[in-house]
Each structure stands twice: as structure tokens, then as C-alpha cells.
Amino acid sequence: MKFLSEYRDPKAAEQLAQAIRGKVTHTWTIMEICGGQTHTIVKSGLEDLLPREITLVHGPGCPVCVTPIDLIDKAVAIAQRPEVIFCSFGDMLRVPGSSKSLFDVKAEGGDVRIVYSPLDALKLAKTNPQRQVVFFAVGFETTAPANAMSAWQADHEGIENFSLLVSHVLVPPAMEALLSSNNCVVQGFLAAGHVCTIMGFEEYFPIAARYEVPIVITGFEPLDILEGILMTVTQLEERRHEVENQYARAVRREGNRPAQNTIAEVFEVTPRQWRGLGEIPASGFQLRGRFQKYDANRRYPSSGEPARESPECISGLILQGIKKPHECPAFAVKCTPENPLGAPMVSSEGACAAYYHYGRRQNHELVQPELPSPASR
């Protein structure tokens, strides 16, 4: 596939890896923000190509993982209503709430449906006028324009049996929160390429300057990530802390203006709870103005039951990159994808799930030491 397959070329990958090896004189800790990038790294065993001086830590770039538990409980409650068709992206279905997940609701007979696009949910509302269609609008800024458009079109066409349960989270505030923490180990960032496709990357300049960290807007294929790491390491070795764009084939500095305009019309910025991290100011979206009528949170009052969390899952430390999944005592023992203790084990973008499925690694080696070492160094 064009613009995809070329970025998986093994010779080019080895060339970039060699260039990285040639650059490092120091140990560096780099964080990739986006769950999609984590997925690629672990799935392609990319860390095997990197010199030991480089440590990759995985960031909170998984909106599924950071959706607050009381919102999952709310989704579950709404989905259990007989008049509701509850639509969601696939990832959200297995995330555990206080007592159950949307998958459980489906197993018990609830009308829970996976959709590819929010417009599919809107279509369901049009073809099922006697039902209430609720769409779980989860995501980072990348998904916001699509979700905004569904509300916009609903309003334009006067559709009333449609609502959104919004759980949008924003990346730059999360990065700032991580950087301002005393425990921050991250020295350079691979920023989320698709988020920046929408929002551009103006917001990163003050962050790079204030915290003196290089930020490289990076894509999602193995070559993108290797090139992003190369650019970050080069900056670190040269003691620079600038914003650079590796993903220039898709990202422009000003981002996608029409998308930003629709987002601004439909959403406004609010403080937001991040599961595992707590509240981060100005880090979420909610519906505004005439679109508030589509807010499922308002349409369906809460039962008032408090959300219950338990202290065993350390997803907060995982999401901040302070610990790796295999360093969690529950990892692969009590906490597995079939019996997850936390969202990072359930979401296909979650670091714990990625580690569990693709590689239980420690210091660049698979946990079983008899495995012969892979690519030549």
C-alpha cells in the first residue's frame, strides 16, 4: 500500500538504526506519546534495533486508557436502557468500569454496537427514529473533528434521537503535566503525529522552550519512528531543544484549519479527569452552545453511585512512563487481557496490552533468556 509499505522497508530501517547508533554518546530516555506508536514499536520489535543507550518509555497516549472510570460506569448505565442503541469504537468495549464493561452489557442483552465512524451512529439514529442512539465520543484531538461533524450534521438536519457521551482529551496539557512532575524521567518526546495533523504544532514551541526538551512530531510506521528517534537523539546530543516535524508528509505547522473551526464551533475546552493521572486543567472537550442538547451526560442523569477503584493497578505509573508494564507485580499474573485490572491492559493501544501480546521484555531482552539475540548490532 502506497505511503504505508515503503515505511516498513528493512534496509531503510537498518540504515536509520545505524545512524542512531552512530549518534549516541550518552544514555537518553525518550517518550512516545501515542498509543499507536507504542503499538508499532512493540509489534515490530523496534527496540531490538536501538542501541542500549536509548530507553523508550510509553506515554499516556491512549484515550481509552485515560477515560475516567465514572464515565465508563455512565456508559454502562446508558447502554443498559432498553430504548438505547449504544455505539462505540471497538477499543472501549472491554474497558472495565466499577462493576462491568460495555462488553458485559452486550453479553447480557444490551444493544451495544461497534461502529467505524461517528457518522455511522448518526445514520443509525436516522433509520431508527423510535430508539435513542448514543455514541461514545472518545479520543484525542484527532477524533474530535469527526465527532464534532456528527453533532453538527445532527443539528443541521434536526435529528433529536442522537447524543454524544464525550470523553475527549488533549495532548499538550498532558505533556506539560508529565514534564512538571518531579518524577519526570523523559528527556525527549516523539509527539503524536495524527493529533498534530489536526491541531498543528504551534502549542509545542513554548513547552519545548520552558522545559528544554526536544519535541519531534512523529508518524506511525517503523521508519517514521526510527527517523523521529534519530532527530530527537541528534538534538539531545547537540544540546538543542526545538520542535521538529518528522511527519511532514501529513502534518503542517498550522494543522487542519477547517477541522479546527468545526471543533471550535462544537466543543469548548474544560478541565478533565485522566484515569491514572488525576485532573489536568484545560485538557478536555465538552459540547458547547447549541450543541449541548446532544450531551448524553445531561440527557441521562447519573445514578449518584460513586465509582470504585482499587489500589492494585499501577496504570498511573505506566502512563507516566515511570514504570514499564512488566515491572508491575500484577502484570501477566493477576492482570491479563482476559482479566484486566486496568485499562492499559485492555486497550489494544495500552502499553500493558502491547507488552503482554507482543513481548514481555526487560532491558532489550525477552524475559526468557535462552532466546538468541536478534538483529546484529
Partner: protein, 86 residues
Amino acid sequence: MCLAVPGRVVEIVDGGDIAFRVGKVDFGGIRKEISLAYTPEAEVGKYVLVHVGFAISVIDEAEAQRVFQYLEEMGGLKEELGEIPQ
């Protein structure tokens, strides 16, 4: 975050309002109807990046080549100078 996949625009269906503009996008042999509301500059033959049913960017083909040009230069340099010391 976000699974976004590149595809080629093969047909455009005008919905009147830009918000309803839709196109047929080809992903290596599979065609899907995709909203072009956010890529007004998309034309037939161009490649777009698609996320949850929406084109979010038109791919800059010149930029897409850049990393391969860089690698070619690097490869050429290596031949001139010998192995890059590690």
C-alpha cells in the same frame, strides 16, 4: 492515537455543502466512502490520510520522499567515507 490509513481518492460525490462532501477512497484495492469535509483541497488522484471515516490531511508527496532521499544520500556518503564509526 489513532489509526489513520493513507488512500487514493478515486471519485468525488458533491454533497452541496462542504460538510457533506464525500469521496470514494481506494486503499490498495478496497474502496470506502469517506467524508472529505475537512480536506476541501482533495482531488481525484491525490492521497489522503483517513481516520474514522474522515480524510484529515492530503499527503504531501514531495515530503513523503524526503526520508528516502536522505537515506540515499547517507548511503552514498558511506560509500565515499567508509563505515560510519560506532
